[in-house]
């Protein structure tokens, strides 16, 4: 039994579509559940503030869900559009697009649940700062979405890329590797930056006078936590736009997939680890805002060391891309 290219395209589009929304809804659901759990606790403590807590819970959940909505959009595009000028590389591009946004939405979904949960909890401890808390939560969880936005960008480029002018071998592997790199590397970064945003909401509720300092430090902590996701994006871009020589050999193709996998998996740990570092730093900045300089410096050094393993992965990925 032999299949023509249309069959393969349909196969990849349906599998990719299923993977996108299937994987993509894992994180958002966990994050939203966490938010709701904390909101319940908060309401039971101060039933008179239930309206306000309820409102901020819903807003927080809506933002946590945006990563899953990105995955839904890609899923629908995969199911209902047929790519023009398809080659066999396109088959892999469709599968990779689904994997990229599916994996990429996990971390941001879980992460964006933390600031929303802490905002609900903080609101009943310190009702006078609820406005400041909501603003901080909105900024924090919007920045949490950055890794999933990177994954979405790679997914869109994969969906609409034109592969007719490049050789099928090893382009298919490069496209698949790009999806894996962007998707996997977003997991740790999304989760980690959620931890940071959660700590900042908790800190503002505890010490409202530190609010400005805490929000600034949160943005800094989140930005550095996401560094490894940026390395993943960089490797994905190189994989997508590097010109390749046609070769039927299997080794160059595997090197490209390996580069994507290596960068993607290597970025998960540093993302979470840096998130934990920054989370604790923000927690103590909030309690002791006058010592912000010293704490920030030790946070930055700690994060740089935690990030070094991500840099090792990037070095290996670059070697796989350009040397091997």
């Amino acid at each position: 039994m032999s299949y023509n290219i249309d069959t393969w395209l349909k196969l990849a589009a349906y599998t990719g579509g299923g993977l996108a929304i299937g994987l993509g809804s894992i994180g958002a659901a966990i994050g939203e559940g966490h938010t709701a759990a904390q909101a319940n606790q908060a309401i039971s403590r101060r039933p008179d503030l239930s309206g306000e807590v309820f409102k901020s819970m819903l807003v927080g959940q809506a933002i946590a869900e945006s990563a899953a909505i990105f995955a839904l959009v890609v899923s629908l595009v995969l199911l209902f559009t047929t790519p023009a000028n398809a080659t066999f590389a396109t088959v892999w591009a469709l599968l990779a697009a689904g994997l990229s946004i599916g994996l990429g939405a996990i971390g941001s979904g879980v992460g964006a649940g933390f600031p929303a949960a802490e905002a609900c909890k903080g609101m009943v401890h310190q009702p006078s700062v609820s406005k400041r808390l909501t603003t901080n939560m909105l900024i924090g969880s919007a920045v949490c979405q950055t890794p999933s936005i990177f994954a979405l960008v790679i997914a869109f480029i994969l969906l609409y890329t034109d592969t007719t002018s490049s050789p099928v071998w090893p382009t298919w592997a490069a496209l698949f590797g790009a999806g894996l790199s962007a998707g996997l590397s977003a997991i740790g970064a999304g989760f980690g930056s959620g931890l940071v945003a959660g700590a900042s909401c908790e800190g503002i509720a505890r010490q409202p006078r530190s609010a400005g300092t805490v929000t600034n430090s949160m943005l800094l902590g989140q930005a550095i936590t996401q560094t490894t996701a940026i390395y993943g994006l960089l490797i994905a871009f190189i994989l997508l736009f590097k010109p390749y020589q046609a070769s039927e050999a299997i080794a160059p193709a595997m090197a490209l997939i390996g580069a994507g996998l290596c960068m993607g998996l290597g970025a998960i740990g540093p993302g979470i680890g840096e998130g934990v570092t920054a989370q604790s730093a923000i927690k103590w900045i909030a309690r002791n805002p006058t010592e912000v300089g010293v704490i920030t410096r030790s946070m930055l050094v700690g994060m740089a060391v935690a990030e070094s393993t991500g840099i090792y992965s990037m070095v290996i990925a670059l070697i796989l891309l350009f040397v091997v």
């Binding site: 950055t146 990177f150 480029i157 930005a223 840099i311």
Partner: protein
């Protein structure tokens, strides 16, 4: 969907080499600089003790950014570098916001803009490091904690340029790709204005601030 990743270039042949100019980016950068000059002139041209509305906005931006720089770098360095930080933030803010006007493109959407700004910050940070610590102490930092860590320290330092510039580039270009694709899928009905508000105004402002913050931090850590 053909606009995805298309660049208008002017290519000049110089013997064996080619010089490429991204015309759109250059034009937009000049427009942003012009807008900033006009804004600065309007803010400062009629300075009074009882400030008008524009003067208050200008003083607010400058004051806040100066305070931010001073907190991180200390009084002495902040006097030198807060004008730079202030200009960097306002340039990035207007660059990220200009895309919401039809037919305008964000200069920060092109990797060249964030990369050159990132390189600028990197160069300044290392200049400050050498100035404050002396050349010997500056070099010896690369060999800490062990001498064989030198290549990794060096890569880690260079990776900062990649991360700072790709963070801005990825966010702004990502936003514009998402807007483009979603507008195409929904035939420009209903959704795009909200996306422009989120990716253009909100994410643009946050990323401009983050880029500025990181530049401040890079300079401050080198100075210590």
């Amino acid at each position: 969907m053909q606009e995805l990743g298309k660049i208008h270039q002017l290519i000049i042949n110089l013997g064996a080499h080619q010089a490429a100019f991204n015309l759109e980016v250059m034009l937009m950068t000049w427009i942003v600089m012009g807008l900033l000059l006009v804004f600065g002139w309007l803010c400062a041209s009629r300075r009074t003790m009882m400030p008008g509305r524009l003067q208050v906005i200008g003083e607010l931006i400058v004051g806040q950014l100066h305070q931010l720089t001073e907190d991180a770098m200390g009084k002495r360095l902040a006097r030198t570098y807060s004008p730079l930080i202030c200009a960097l933030f306002m340039f990035l803010l207007i660059s990220n916001w200009i895309g919401i006007i039809p037919h305008m493109e964000e200069p920060s959407k092109d990797l060249n803009t964030p990369l050159s700004l990132g390189l600028m910050g990197f160069a300044i940070a290392h200049y400050v490091g050498i100035r404050t610590k002396g050349f010997k102490a500056y070099i010896s930092e690369y060999f800490a904690p062990m001498f064989f860590m030198m290549p990794l320290n060096l890569i880690g330092e260079l990776a900062k340029i990649v991360s700072i510039s790709f963070r801005l580039f990825g966010n702004i270009m990502g936003g514009s790709i998402i807007i483009l694709v979603v507008s195409y899928l929904t035939y420009n009905i209903l959704l795009p204005p909200f996306l422009y508000a989120f990716f253009g105004l909100f994410v643009g402002a946050i990323q401009a601030f983050v880029f500025t913050m990181l530049t401040i931090v890079y300079i401050a850590t080198q100075a210590k």
